[in-house]
Symmetry: C2
Subunit: 323 residues, 2 copies
């Protein structure tokens, strides 16, 4: 049994940065820090730096070693939950099959559990964020990749080999553009970062209205820049978000028909555009989904921001030591 | 607690016919009969005929009234499980909101439970058919409509308002043909009965090779006729099944990415074409789905035929009285 005074270390391993945080057993992130992943240098070098950073955070928070109950980690890619290792992650190739959880667990003397990052984020949003109270939840994260998480019948759903929830790789247009996954016309090819940037370029070429995005250098033409321009009233940026939102809505209609969820949560950088993205998505969902799911599902932005994953990983790990 | 000697009445309400069966508690269908639905004449007239037929079957099977434990019904459409009524079913419009389960339950003196027909079929295939032993199962039934059933983490999945599993209404091609559901380019529009018939006509027009389907009168040009011709070696019929199988595979790839299931079961009339339909589907799935789910998922034909729904409805009802 855990108590309210239990402290958990949450570790979120991304392709660029590793977030480390001291998390309370109610999911509150008490203190967090970030170190570079240096993904190409392999996992060995990172283990030592993760331990240094984690121990420093625990000390600063005044957490004694015997108060640390468990460590919850998450990473991108397909994760082997039973053995605590990354099986398949394009941005962490040299980390694949490295016994990450076991190595950290040996050093810290507590159990370490590894989870997929979108699952960790979904779990946190369900427990503490935009999904509280729901039993049927679909979570989409928009970024370079488009990830998915599922809470079905009140449980996090992972699939037979923990490879489920790849919602970014639903086909929306069979004869659509090639996707890095090898398929064509995937949702990710219409609402992922690359698609939004390409769409912005196309709109700027075709539409002669003034736009602050015309002065933006190519490397700064990001979904964030588009969202900011749209928020400031830029018509071309708004058009880009609207078209992106409509494609999102095509995917959401399929997901509503498949899952009949209570809520769909949209997270990730672009989701910060809020209703400029979500209203066209909701309209398209209502237009395309069956009556019952379309009428009742709520499409909402994620609530927890970029600390969702560490908090979720910590809570999932606590759940696993509690049985 | 039920015992092996418990008998259940299974009732499958379709738009054309009502199947009634005495089912043992292990799912064995001991005796079955069929009566016309006369859907447009409303549900009142059917209740009496269902009771007559059911009582006759019980008598013939030598089942005493006190041995009948429970009745399991299923119907097409969206079903209100708690109140045992059909909420939304295009082929049973005048049955909507009629207290079907309560009326039959009052007459028979046992609890009557209503379930969606594809869920009942999926449950039977899971317990007794092509899905035994799996914890993650996707079921597709191919017919006029394309229905879906889901077993996720070892439980039948229904969604927040029992409207989930509408797998026939995933978008595969946003700019594809209009679907009766109101959307465009749904899976059903590529592999449902109407799509297969249209495709057959197109192939017959474009392809001048001889085919027994050229002599088939328009009203007899059904998916069954296509399957039979293909089984007999008809090249045009085989081409139609192959194109249909490839579209099926586009849908299966999305479903594999979403659910990472152990097995996908294909049922309904067209599925009788077997590997002539399923091999192109499997090839397309492997081509388009992510590596982990694509490598491991099995795509198999349904095993139980058209008695799956009554058996499944009966077993689900037994499960509900057992708690």
């Amino acid at each position: 049994v855990t108590s309210a005074s239990d402290r958990v270390l949450g570790i979120d391993v991304g392709g660029t940065a590793i977030k480390i945080a001291v998390v309370w057993s109610d999911g509150h992130v008490a203190r967090a820090d970030e170190i570079p992943t240096l993904a190409d240098a392999g996992p060995e070098q990172a283990v030592g730096r993760i331990l240094d950073c984690g121990r420093k955070l625990l000390d600063t928070e005044g957490v004694r070693r015997d108060e640390l109950r468990v460590v919850g980690m998450d990473s991108a890619g397909i994760v082997d939950l039973a053995n605590g290792l990354v099986l398949d992650a394009p941005n962490l190739r040299s980390w694949e099959c490295f016994p990450l959880a076991a190595r950290l667990g040996d050093a810290l003397g507590v159990p370490v559990f590894l989870e997929n990052d979108v699952n960790a984020m979904t779990y946190a949003e369900w427990q503490l964020g935009a999904g509280t109270g729901a039993r049927h939840l679909v979570c989409l994260t928009l970024g370079t990749g488009v990830g998915g998480g599922l809470v079905l019948d009140g449980r996090l759903y992972r699939g037979a080999r923990h490879a489920g929830g790849e919602l970014g790789h639903m086909t929306l247009q069979r004869d659509g553009p090639r996707c890095p996954c090898g398929s064509t016309g995937c949702l990710e090819r219409y609402i992922g970062t690359a698609a939004i940037v390409e769409r912005t370029r196309r709109h700027l070429e075709r539409d002669e209205r003034p736009s602050r995005l015309r002065e933006t250098p190519a490397e700064a033409l990001t979904p964030r820049a588009v969202s900011e321009a749209a928020a400031a009233g830029d018509a071309i940026a708004r058009g880009v978000l609207e078209e992106t939102g409509r494609w999102l809505g095509v995917g959401l209609a399929s997901l509503a028909n498949i899952f009949d969820p209570e809520r769909i949560i949209i997270g990730g950088g672009v989701a910060k555009a809020g209703d400029l993205l979500l209203e066209p998505a909701r309209a398209m969902l209502r237009e395309r989904a069956m009556k019952v799911p379309a009428e009742r599902v709520l499409v909402v932005p994620a609530a927890l921001g970029n600390q969702a994953s560490v908090a979720g990983a910590a809570l999932l790990a606590l759940g696993r030591v509690q049985g």
